[in-house]
Amino acid sequence: MLGIALGIGVLAVLVSALLGPKKASRAKLMAYESGNDPEHGGVGTGQRFPVHFYLVAMLFIVFDIETAFFFPLAVAYQKLVPFAFWEALTFVGLLLVGYYYILKKGVLEWT
């Protein structure tokens, strides 16, 4: 089983490396930086970078942690049913306050 799994992985890389056409161009050889030119005005060349990116990443983590808390709740929900509903509602309600604040502040609008 493990042999087959490894074999497929190695094979896929090998075959495409051997058989694939290779036509290098400047754009293809450039390091991938999500569409930014890494050498001319890209990341790491002193260009100003909107703090907006950082804020969105921050909010992503907060809601990611919220999901981590929700997962066990969802699994155990059947056993906890009458009171867990209200507990979950409180939890979500407080986070909805944060969500409302984000929306009203226009953080999610990308201009």
Partner: protein, 195 residues
């Protein structure tokens, strides 16, 4: 047991890379190794939910933020120069050895205290379901308090980045004329960090 030792060794290698790497991106990648090995350790101790959370939250989200900050702050040039504090490496090394020794002594003389065994039994191997049951009954107050903590994090982060405009407070001078605020000490550059 073998898996445990291997994963432990891998976590150590990652940690050493994190500390020793001169390039911040390499250090962050070393940290990914450590975090994933620790997730494996959790899994091998049959704390499956904890392992999953470790991968999702730490290796996933938090590491992404780490790399993001390294990118934003242009920290991927290696750090050169001397340590500002003398002998900090030597002291940290000695402290680390003492700490490791103390922890080893403690680990070998450790006995499960009585209530801990009950707590472990209640978690029944740490599946998400068992964690959920404990979280929503015994640890309900911390659970709800965590949502307050997350709310503070959201509001705080947004308020710091998008600083709202101060509203006049209606304080007047003796003649009843509204007073000006203090002059700003500087005008902030419009929401930007140097990349």
């Amino acid at each position: 047991m073998i898996a445990f030792l291997l994963l432990g060794a891998l976590a150590l290698v990652g940690a050493v890379v994190t500390v020793a790497a001169r390039n911040a991106v390499h250090a962050a990648l070393g940290l990914v190794g450590t975090l994933l090995s620790v997730a494996g350790l959790f899994a091998s101790l049959s704390a499956s939910f904890l392992a999953a959370v470790q991968v999702i939250v730490y290796a996933g989200a938090i590491l992404v933020l780490f790399l993001f900050v390294i990118m934003l702050l242009n920290a991927h040039q290696p750090v050169t120069g001397r340590d500002p504090v003398p002998f900090v490496r030597e002291l940290a090394g000695i402290g680390g050895v003492i700490l490791a020794g103390a922890l080893a002594v403690i680990a070998f003389s450790y006995r499960d205290p009585q209530p801990l065994a009950q707590g472990t039994a209640a978690l029944r191997g740490g599946t998400a379901g068992a964690v959920g049951e404990t979280l929503l009954t015994r640890f309900l107050l911390p659970f709800e308090a965590v949502s307050v903590l997350l709310l503070v994090a959201i509001v705080g982060a947004v308020a710091l980045v998008r600083r709202p405009a101060p509203q006049p407070d209606g304080v007047t001078d003796a003649e009843g004329v509204a007073l000006p605020g203090e002059l700003p000490e500087r005008t902030a550059p419009e929401g930007g960090v140097r990349a």
